[in-house]
């Protein structure tokens, strides 16, 4: 136990400031992002992740969002197990034909407004795999996509910025 406590203290808190998309202020602190999410959604942001056929590179970066440097749970963002608990769908990969139906079911299970963020080159454009007998190509060929985050794979900061911009763009739509 002593060793665990010593390790926790010596490692300290490495959490960094989150990248901030417009229209939030550039100097946004964790608290500001939390309150922005609360204002827009009225609660913490819950995300359901679906790998629709990726090479697993993008998954490494989405997992990295949970490490102490990015600490997305500290910002009020949680990756949840059921689409029915989720406000947002994060999708990676070209959509394989074998995953097409599962992706549509997950999308349908998410309550409105069904925010969808496509992560990585393959999800945005079909990428190196494109369309074929086995691949439907980009995510927007299968379900409507709100925000695309290119990169192979995109960095955790790029993914976080994309997630936040999907939330804030939702606020703009709602204000019309």
């Amino acid at each position: 136990m002593w060793q665990i406590l010593k390790q926790i203290v010596s490692a300290g808190i490495p959490t960094e400031k989150a990248p901030v998309p417009a229209p939030l202020s550039q100097q946004a602190e964790t608290g500001q992002i939390q309150s922005a999410i609360l204002t827009i959604l009225g609660r913490a942001l819950c995300i359901r992740f679906v790998d629709a056929g990726s090479c697993n590179g993008c998954e490494l970066e989405i997992n990295a969002l949970n490490n102490p440097y990015y600490n997305i749970e500290g910002l009020g963002i949680k990756i949840v197990a059921s689409p029915r608990h989720a406000d947002m769908l994060l999708v990676t990969g070209p959509v394989s034909r074998n995953m097409e139906e599962a992706l549509i079911l997950a999308y349908e299970a998410i309550p409105d407004p069904k925010l969808v963020v496509a992560i990585g080159e393959c999800a945005c454009t079909g990428g190196i795999f494109g369309e074929s007998y086995a691949s439907c190509g980009k995510v927007s060929n299968v379900i409507p996509v709100g925000v695309t985050i290119p990169g192979c794979p995109p960095t955790p900061n790029a993914i976080l910025a994309g997630i936040l911009s999907a939330v804030t763009s939702r606020a703009q739509v709602a204000s019309f």
């Binding site: 390790q7 590179g57 074929s132």
Partner: protein, 518 residues
């Protein structure tokens, strides 16, 4: 490697493949196909991969290839098969062949005769049963609108037995696949996997590509093993074009490979702590992994080192300052991992979950062909870096980590020991890095050739086999991930354990979906 030894042992003549991998190739007759398989098996050899090639652009037949790993090196046997023909089943001798043979049929339409399990594997119903994408009359870009079909799982019956269906979408941030558990209460009687969900047509995509263009695709077979796959691919095409990679490039490749191994082991050790309820393990190891990949990004321009290994060499180089940064990081990580290891070792609750969970005894592991780091935790002492000393590993004297307990605890220990060994190797590379060029030009296209690459990735040994066509482009490129061998063994590892231990046992294997689905 001496082909005479093989010729004497198997009574057929072999041709040595060019390049750094000790491998030889032979065309065999139908009777020899099974005779040699038995000899290999009795001699302690292992089946690595089976695939089919439509060689009709060049010749008037198909070819079925099998690669075995013997103590001396790789044996690549080719059997000529006519259209709509078949080949003798190997799964009775090597159980690992079963899913590969089912896949081979679906891709190319040549079946293993007398095979017991002929259920579809990749084809979930989304394309017709008589559509074979690797046949030369198909383009691979055909679109179909057939519906998904239910998979005929084996059902378990009896008093109180029920099924738990999981996936293809899993609860966490992981790849898709379906697991069907048959349970009584909390106890798992049987697990059956249905994979293929991430099949995106990589085999078809590679056909017709130039041998330089294939590297980017090979590096995306399984993102967490991008260096290993890219290196194995490059090794194969360098063998085809008789290209000698500069020593400095080979050493830098080994540095990248060891960095990939450490990055993945750090991530797994954190996740294993977390799956057993020790959250500090996850946050501390994830912090170390983040530091690790950030330095890769700083020095090499990519956090996971994608596209750095290219045919002919590497795209990166290291100066004094870079070497100092890497050495410093090795010292820091070594110290931190040793603290975390003692926390893991001394944590009674954690060890209680690790010890005896998901046990695969050495006998079962050998029978089923378990390999890679999971195999080494079950007494299967194979590591291509140590066994075949492929350049530059001939200079390093790799110490293999092996244990015989075969449980989650053993798989955790192997990971810790491999991190230490990879740190030692990385130090040696940084200390003795030879001077010179980092890339050499690949001499154009070479027609009608065969080449093989064989690399011990962090998960296990990766094989990439390439055949070129009459123009020197790719006629067939087969990328083999060790997950093929290890997925079926996971079905055995979970038997008799309780359902809540499955995530932990699964994580201790940490197999690739994409690497096997292709």
């Amino acid at each position: 490697m001496d082909t005479e030894v093989f010729a004497e042992k198997y009574a057929i003549s072999f041709n040595l493949l060019e390049g750094v991998v000790p491998a030889c190739i032979a065309d065999v007759s139908r009777p020899d196909w099974l005779r040699i398989a038995e000899l290999v098996k009795n001699d302690g050899g292992r089946l690595i991969a089976i695939w089919g090639t439509d060689r009709r652009p060049l010749e008037d037949h198909y070819a079925i290839s099998v690669v075995y790993c013997a103590a001396e090196g790789l044996l690549w046997l080719r059997l000529t098969v006519a259209e709509a023909g078949n080949y003798p089943d190997l799964s009775a001798l090597f159980p690992a062949a079963e899913r590969m043979q089912r896949t081979l049929f679906e891709l190319i339409g040549i079946a293993a005769i007398d095979a017991e399990d002929v259920r579809p594997w990749l084809n979930h119903g989304k394309w017709p049963k008589d559509y074979f994408p690797l046949q030369s009359n198909c383009t691979g870009s055909e679109h179909f609108s057939t519906p998904l079909e239910p998979y005929p799982f084996v059902t378990v019956t009896g008093d109180g037995v029920h099924e738990i269906a999981v996936g293809p979408i899993h609860a966490g941030v992981i790849e898709p696949g379906h697991f069907r558990f048959s349970v009584v209460g909390e106890k798992v009687l049987r697990l059956e996997q249905q994979l293929g969900y991430t099949h995106k047509g990589i085999d078809r995509l590679l056909i017709g590509k130039s041998i330089t263009d294939g590297a980017r695709i090979a590096g995306r077979v399984s993102g967490d093993s991008t260096v290993a796959f890219a290196w194995a691919y490059c090794m194969a095409v360098e063998s085809i074009s008789r290209c000698q990679v500069p020593q400095r490039a080979a050493w830098l490749r080994a540095l990248l490979l060891e960095r990939e191994r450490i990055a993945n082991h750090l991530g797994d050790l954190g996740a294993l702590g977390n799956d057993a309820g020790l959250a500090i393990g996850l946050s501390q190891f994830m912090r170390l992994k983040e530091d690790w990949v950030r330095l890769s990004h700083q020095l090499f321009g990519h956090r996971f080192m994608m596209d750095l290994v290219i045919p002919g060499g590497v795209t990166i180089d290291l100066d004094r300052a870079g070497i100092d940064l890497l050495s410093e990081q090795l010292n820091k990580i070594e110290k931190e991992v040793s603290v975390l290891r003692s926390i893991y070792d001394e944590h009674a609750g954690l060890q209680d979950r690790f010890i005896s969970a998901g046990r695969v005894l050495p006998k079962l592991a050998a029978d089923l062909g378990l390999c890679g780091l999971v195999g080494r935790a079950s007494g299967q002492a194979f590591d291509a870096r140590a066994d075949h000393k492929i350049s530059p590993y001939d200079k390093f004297n790799v110490r293999m980590a092996t244990h015989r307990n075969g449980d989650v605890a053993a798989r955790v220990t192997v990971r810790f020991e491999e991190i230490s060994e990879s740190i030692r190797l990385s130090r040696q590379i940084l200390f003795q890095l030879p001077p010179g060029e980092t890339v050499t030009k690949l001499d154009g296209a070479v027609a009608g050739q065969f080449g093989a690459g064989w690399i011990e990735g962090w998960r296990g040994a990766i094989l990439v086999a390439v055949e070129t066509d009459a123009q020197g482009a790719i006629l067939r490129c087969h990328c083999h991930d060790p997950s093929w061998q290890n997925w079926p063994v996971l079905q055995h590892a979970i038997m008799g354990n309780i359902v809540p231990d499955f995530p932990l046992i699964n994580k201790s294997f940490n197999l690739s979906y994409s690497g096997q689905d292709l």
